[in-house]
């Protein structure tokens, strides 16, 4: 689930952990998808490679960027419907260091029909077009069995990325100005470069916990609000050189509830008012078969704690993002070389109630040494860099690195504590341990570092087969024994195989 990184950092704090575990619905992971739209191909009559670099979805070519910025209006109206599906297998390096491998690594090594999406996308009028995605997650949650333990997986559909836009283009021999407005549900989904937070992650992320360490769940620069909120942004692209966008977001309710359709109220992100600004500036240049972009973006959002009473201002936190990103592409048949770099700093100011809940004194296992007070705010820095090469738009590979660093906070320690909030020994047999194995953090530090390599094959333009390996040298603040119960970062290394198809 990349939609709610902010909610993850707070709600999986140790103080909320027991409540989370008591919740009868397990593993609500939302899904990020690749976006290559046969509906758009039918609208323009063009091949996928026209808009997607080397056919590597969803990364756009310069032409694809113009197509999107002019509101998906090039071409002619057709039936604006596409579907896609993903089958996948994930295998985690070590499943033994777990109290319950069956729960921590569900479906490990099993072939899944993971997710499917329905797209309604295309030209509406000469100035207006739509990109909207409804995603079905075959492993959305687990029902509770008679013994209170998680039972069968259940599927669920909800609104995924939505971008409805209006644009006009004023072009003559001297100037080229594209201006537009986008109504969307995810900050930066309106962006046209693949280093933008909503787009850099390009592989699907199925829900079972065996998939929790694949690249799609590893740190990516993102905005603290995540998606399924409602925003209106306006943008301008001048002479294909300067891009500026500014907008603001609010809760996706009332007239905007379609932007979070299918997500139950307790799981939607609640923002205070409509003053949650998002902005973006980018410089781009094309020369020969090359093109490049450098940009900055940012957002300030006032976010209520997940599932809390929004009438209580003490449930209100704040999150501030500022990012830098860059992209390079070399596109000349039969070669495609692309590179992305993205860095995002996020400062999270916790709500008064979150801090109050964390206030009681805690001690180390000796019963004497107090645990440090929780921070009123935390900062994280996430860096991603990726290079890809594709030959004949068929055979491709990529290598990426990720590095997340941030402040250490007792609030984020989810492991090594007992049920009274005391840090205990690392002995899993110890009494009263409420620590979280596998996902837990003994350090309270978010540092996570690693790399992902991928090879893929696109035999025909609507089908892609890929193999991906993600390796961790640090996870939740440590290379070894990060959960306080003996699990090492490299135990999370994961092999991920997928088959993607769209029509």
């Amino acid at each position: 689930m990349r939609c709610f990184p902010w909610r993850l950092t707070t709600s999986i704090g140790k103080y909320c952990l027991s409540a989370a575990l008591a919740w009868p619905v397990f593993g609500i992971f939302h899904v990020e998808q690749a976006h290559a739209l046969p509906a758009f191909a039918r609208q323009t009559g063009q091949n996928c490679v026209s808009c997607h670099a080397g056919g590597q979805f969803p990364e756009l070519t310069p032409y694809g960027r113009i197509f999107k910025l002019t509101a998906y209006t090039i071409g002619e109206r057709t039936i604006p419907i596409s579907v896609m599906g993903v089958a996948s297998v994930a295998k985690v390096n070590d499943t033994s260091k777990s109290d319950s491998p069956a729960a921590d690594f569900q479906k490990n090594g099993s072939l899944l029909f993971a997710t499917g999406s329905l797209f309604i996308a295309g030209k509406v009028t000469n100035n207006m077009g739509v990109f909207s995605q409804i995603t079905y997650d075959n492993y959305a949650y687990q029902s509770a069995g008679p013994d209170g333990q998680p039972a069968d997986f259940r599927g669920h559909s909800n609104a995924d990325n939505i971008d409805i836009r209006y644009a006009d283009r004023f072009i003559d021999g001297n100037h080229d100005l594209i201006v537009g407005v986008s109504l969307n549900n995810n900050p930066s989904i309106s962006d046209v470069w693949n280093s933008a937070a909503a787009w850099m992650q390009y592989v699907p992320v199925p829900s079972p916990t065996s998939h929790q360490f694949i690249d799609g769940t590893a740190p990516y620069p993102g905005f603290g609000t995540g998606g399924n909120i409602a925003g209106i942004t306006t943008y301008a692209y001048w002479n294909r050189a300067l891009y500026a966008e500014i907008g603001t977001y609010r809760t996706a309710n009332q007239a905007f509830s379609f932007l979070s359709a299918g997500i139950n109220d307790g799981n939607t992100t609640k923002l205070r008012g409509s003053n949650n600004p998002y902005w973006r500036l980018a410089l781009s240049h094309e020369w020969g078969a090359h093109n490049a972009m450098m940009g900055v973006s940012g957002m300030v959002a006032h976010v209520f704690d997940g599932g809390s009473d929004v009438s209580d201002p003490d449930n209100l936190g704040r999150v501030r993002n500022i990012g830098f990103d860059a992209q390079y592409q070399y596109l000349l048949d039969p070669h495609t070389i692309t590179a992305q770099f993205a860095f995002m700093r996020q400062k999270q100011f916790y709500s008064a109630n979150t801090l109050a809940a964390a206030e009681p004194p805690y001690f180390l296992a000796d019963g004497i040494t107090p645990v440090a007070a929780v921070n009123a705010s935390d900062t994280t820095n996430i860096l991603r860099a990726k290079v890809s090469y594709i030959f004949q738009a068929k055979y491709g590979g990529s290598l990426s690195i990720f590095n997340k660093t941030g402040t250490t906070n007792t609030l984020n320690q989810t492991s090594g504590f007992d049920s009274n909030g005391q840090i205990t020994s690392t002995d899993p047999e110890g009494t009263g341990i409420a620590s979280t194995r596998v996902n837990g953090s003994l350090t309270g530090n978010p540092a996570t570092r690693g790399w992902t390599g991928e090879v893929f094959w696109t035999p025909v333009q609507y089908v892609r087969v890929g193999a991906q390996f993600t390796a961790y040298s640090k996870y939740n603040g440590a290379s070894s024994n990060y959960d306080g119960l003996g699990r090492n970062a490299r135990d999370n290394n994961t092999l991920f195989l997928y088959l993607w198809a769209a029509y």
């Binding site: 323009t44 009559g45 310069p62 209006t73 090039i74 002619e76 009028t125 000469n126 409509s274």
Partner: protein, 212 residues
């Protein structure tokens, strides 16, 4: 701003959208849209507003002979030009263009001044030799015989001077190895014995030729 107000704003936006200006339309299936509008709103995305394309993936159209541009657009429209550069990008875009729009697009781009490109590769004397004298020992005639003294093109025979070298070399290979461009069947015979070096030499020379 309250949600209903925003909803009204969105509806207003839709209203404005419904009255879109045909002078800035990107609709490729509307005979009312002028050729110049299509050139600026659609073609410019790859070929630039004046046909001097930035990327060698896309041929320069500026200063091209109008008859050649018309024949290519019609060949794309009826799928008789089937090289990858053609069908991947152009089949769809041209499928509902009217003859009038095609004529207008050809006139528009033919009348645009061609800007010189930087030298592609090393435009040595080998390329110049092929252009001016052909390859006599292989009975390959000189390019200028059909494409003009300055490579400027003659009616149905396209302008070559100032074209992207990468595009020219790839098209020579298309002629040589495939039947994807039946209208250029004569080029299959001419290009048959060109070596890879011949193709890149002559393409580099043509790219660097001063537009005339």
């Amino acid at each position: 701003m309250k949600a209903p107000k925003i909803a009204i704003a969105v509806l207003a936006m839709l209203g404005v959208a419904a009255c879109a200006n045909i002078e800035r339309s990107r609709n490729l299936n509307d005979a009312r849209v002028s050729a110049k509008t299509l050139a600026l709103q659609v073609c410019s995305a790859c070929h630039a507003f004046d046909g001097n394309s930035v990327s060698p993936n896309f041929p320069n159209l500026a200063g091209q002979t109008p008859a050649y541009l018309v024949s290519q657009l019609k060949d794309f429209r009826k799928h008789s030009r089937a090289d990858p550069a053609g069908f991947e990008y152009m089949w769809g875009l041209s499928r509902n263009l009217t003859d009038e729009q095609i004529d207008g697009l050809a006139s528009y781009f033919a009348s645009q001044p061609l800007r010189p490109l930087p030298a592609g590769g090393v435009p040595g004397i080998a390329g110049q030799g092929i252009f001016e004298r052909g390859v006599p020992e292989k009975s390959i005639p000189p390019c200028k015989g059909c494409h003009g003294e300055h490579g400027q093109g003659t009616d149905q025979n396209p302008r070559l001077a100032g074209q992207h070298a990468d595009y020219l070399a790839k098209q020579l290979s298309v002629f040589q190895r495939t039947d994807e461009r039946p209208d250029g069947a004569v080029m299959k015979i001419i290009a048959h014995d060109l070596t890879e070096a011949n193709k890149s030499d002559v393409a580099a020379y043509l790219q660097a030729m001063a537009p005339r």
